[in-house]
Amino acid sequence: MERVVTANELAAIADEAMRTGRTVVGPVRRKERYFYEAVSRGADLALDFNYCVYSPRSFFLPSSETVLSYSIGTKEVKAAPATGGTPLLIMGVHPCDCNAVALLDAVFGSGVPDDHYLARRKDSIVVAVDCHGPCDQTAFCRDMGGNEAKEGFDVMLTPLNGGKGQAAERYLAAAATERGKELLAYNKVGKAPANADKDAAEKFREARNANFKKKLPYEAEKLPEILDRSYNSLLWQVTAKRCYSCGSCNLVCPTCYCFTVKDVPDLSCASGRRVREWDGCQLQDFATVAGGHNFRPESSSRLRHRIFRKGKWIKEQQGRMGCVGCGRCDRACTAKISVVEIYTQLAEER
């Protein structure tokens, strides 16, 4: 299902979603950067944003959430699972983050399904908006295939006019899921695309494809093979000399999903909450187990672990790249350690 919609009509869809009880989230400009935030008017959504500092991950996997509350009686322990938040409409998600959502869906939906994550996803609608090209010089989405999304969204918006940094007034809205079709049908907005609209969309896609340039000297499919040869590379130790193990790269990553679980008792000590919080494999105690043994005590081994997860192991487990190339890790690193540089250097080592 495809409709041509105006920017005003998209704002009206957001306003209607709010009226019917959804929280509407999208890119909002805060001084020099954009952030995903809940808005109070659809018109506040900045669909011409370059990139958001954080991905929409925190709306599906909050940095801290209560998973159950418990009380210890004299005879029994009672535990009640916590339920999800309000239904969401996230409008303005770039293809890289859609790919990340698709990966999180696969991870939390397989094995023992994660009820908390899935409940939030079930109640959410994701409206994607296509990019004119790389959002800045840090992104390497073209290499990782992150600049093309087939999943992780319900409706894809293709700008029909405007340009980089200039908001489009008209979009081609293509529903990718039943939920997406319902959203467009329910709001009764827009009109069927004319041939001229289809041409404009095609022209946009051709231009965008030309704008995305490769950064790696090889195809990303080769990455697992290159990493296989690099497990004992000196590069890990050399790079770790600059690394703080601060975990910033993990915590801004749209595909990082590791968490830790803590019990937080009330002062009465007879009741409390079980809380899960974001964790990150770069942090000193990430691989510390009961008894105190740490499987990755050296920061070089943690650094290598992250690169192997993103470039090889997640691909092997989930059939999808663990990295979407959004470049947030490189931007967040105050030591200016770059994943692209690491991938490039490893290839040069052979």
């Binding site: 020099e32 703080y244 974001w278």
Partner: protein
């Protein structure tokens, strides 16, 4: 990590102060929402900031302030002797805090600056944390300490559960809050090597982290010095001064 010593059914607690502003003692009284619950679980027997009664039968003694005078030395030893569990609270008691800045100045100069012409009647020693003189069971760092961390320690003691400070750096809390990194705004912050637990309160309000909670367990100070000088154009003297603000007494030094 020390497991809590056995304590009586309603543990008796005391709060003492050495050289400092006593802001950490005050932080306990600012635990308004849970203060009554704490008072229901603990018996406060000695607390200069809050009461006139004095008892020396103490299960858990909390100390704020640095050891900075000869009388502080005697007092901290007495607090240790009288308390089954001794907890240092706040930057001064845990790392010496900003008091240690005087250790890098001329003694006569700073004594005259503070006490004027009566300077020689107030004896002084280089400022040091409690742990330089006595065994300290737990430390709750920060300037001031995080009062909620105080409540967490209280719960751990009641449950007989080990208490451990966060090992993550402040960056983790900034990212969890969704802050824009101060480095992106051109500020060089000590967050990457400073122990979390403050909720990244300074960066959240736009001020750089000054490291009041001390360093993480394994800080990469070599990286800190090189990155701050080579990547951010700081002078090495300024880097050292930033680290000295709260960290003058810490064992880990910029190499």
């Amino acid at each position: 990590m020390v497991s809590p010593a056995p304590v009586s059914a309603k543990p008796k607690i005391a709060v003492f102060s050495l050289t400092g502003c006593e802001g950490c003692s005050l932080a306990i009284l600012e635990l308004e929402d849970v203060l009554l619950d704490i008072l229901g679980k603990f018996e406060v027997v000695n607390f200069r900031e809050a009461m006139t009664e004095r008892s020396w039968d103490i299960d858990i003694g909390f100390v704020d302030g640095a050891v900075s005078t000869p009388s502080d030395v005697e007092e901290v030893k007495m607090f240790r002797e009288k308390s089954k569990v001794l907890v240092a609270i706040g930057a001064c008691a845990c790392t010496g805090g900003i008091n240690t800045l005087k250790n890098y100045q001329n003694e006569e100069d700073y004594r005259k600056y503070v006490y004027g012409n009566k300077w020689n009647v107030f004896p002084t020693i280089p400022a040091q944390p409690c742990s330089a003189f006595v065994k300290v069971d737990y430390e709750l760092p920060g300037c001031p300490m995080n009062k909620f961390e105080f409540a967490e320690l209280a719960k751990s003691v009641l449950l007989g559960k080990p208490f451990k400070l966060p090992s993550d750096p402040v960056c983790v809390e900034c990212k969890k809050k969704g802050n824009l990194c101060l480095y992106e705004k051109g500020l060089v912050c000590l967050g990457p090597v400073t122990r979390a637990g403050c909720g990244a309160i300074c960066p959240t309000y736009g001020a750089k982290c000054e490291g009041c909670r001390g360093l993480v367990d394994k800080p990469n100070l070599q990286a800190a010095a090189e990155n701050m000088v080579n990547l951010y154009g700081m002078k090495i003297e300024d880097v050292l001064a930033d680290f000295r603000m709260f960290g003058a007494y810490q064992k880990e030094r910029i190499p």
